[in-house]
């Protein structure tokens, strides 16, 4: 008896009630995408990339489309893939203008590198034929609002204090 298997997570944080159902739907889709690769005799390193790609393409999750924004309002993505059989590693960090960072990380796994960061990572992705996209394709209204909320947090507190009806 051979059991092939996959387990996925969609991030551990204070997920609000209104995001619960979509998160559950998205995580099921991701695990389904991964197990189908295994059922078709695919390798575990390709199954995890299929599952994570599904979540990167789902705006409910903080990766790819729907990723958190830097204080400049830009998207910088980090990802890694590791294969236990031979300890091979592929990773990118601060990758810009590419939708699926995990797929670029998968390409790094097959290269002689283990980690490529920043502009070099974007250049590597371009060399491997990945489409270079504008940040606008990765930014969601939800994340824009989250950034604005933090940007204005200081102002909010200040105005409350100035209004004199608050305490530390």
């Amino acid at each position: 008896m051979v059991k092939i298997k996959i387990i996925c997570h969609g991030g551990a944080w204070s997920i609000p009630d209104e995001a619960k159902e979509k998160s559950l739907e998205g995580i099921r889709n991701a695990a389904r995408a991964g197990i189908e690769v295994l059922k078709n005799s695919g390798k575990s390193e390709d199954a995890v990339v299929a599952a994570v790609s599904a979540m990167e393409n789902d705006p409910i999750f903080n990766a790819g489309h729907g990723a958190s924004l830097t204080r400049d309002g830009t998207v910088e993505l980090d990802s890694m893939v590791m294969r236990g059989r031979d300890y091979s590693i592929g990773a990118v960090a601060a990758l810009r203008n590419v939708k699926n960072a995990c797929q670029v990380a998968r390409e790094v796994l097959d290269s002689e590198h283990t980690l490529i960061v920043g502009p070099g990572a974007s250049e590597f992705a371009k060399e491997k034929g990945f489409e270079i996209v504008d940040d606008s394709e990765l930014v969601t209204p939800y994340e824009k609002a989250a950034l604005e909320k933090i940007r204005n947090y200081g102002t909010g507190v200040e105005s409350i204090f100035k209004a004199g009806d608050a305490h530390d």
Partner: protein, 137 residues
Amino acid sequence: TVGAVAFDGDGFACCTSTGGVTFKRPGRVGDSPLAGSGGYADGGAACSTTGHGEGITKALLAHRVVWGCGADQTRASKAVDDALDFMKTEIGSQGGAICLTRASYGVGFNTKRMPWCYISFDTETEEEEILVGIEPE
């Protein structure tokens, strides 16, 4: 952050991907792309983590989980809980992790919620098991 761990009947792999944290400094990188922190895999187990990036990196959380499984394939869940407890008490950071060994799986988090889904498939009987969760219990 999102992650996946798989076993294809022969070997393990893990994958983790993230946009980081809102309002981060450009160039700030957390644990996700760092082998041993955001994810780790060897011949007997694999793990993917999520949570406070700097804390996970200090705890070397993914490697700590895989190492915690040791030779006992039934320890995945215990290894995840022990590693998260260490990170919380020693470093004061919260997060979550998923893990697979040949005989077990582990899911743990000490934040409000973490969506997770486990699917196993018996290639002989074609029996499939699906488990899904998001609340702490």
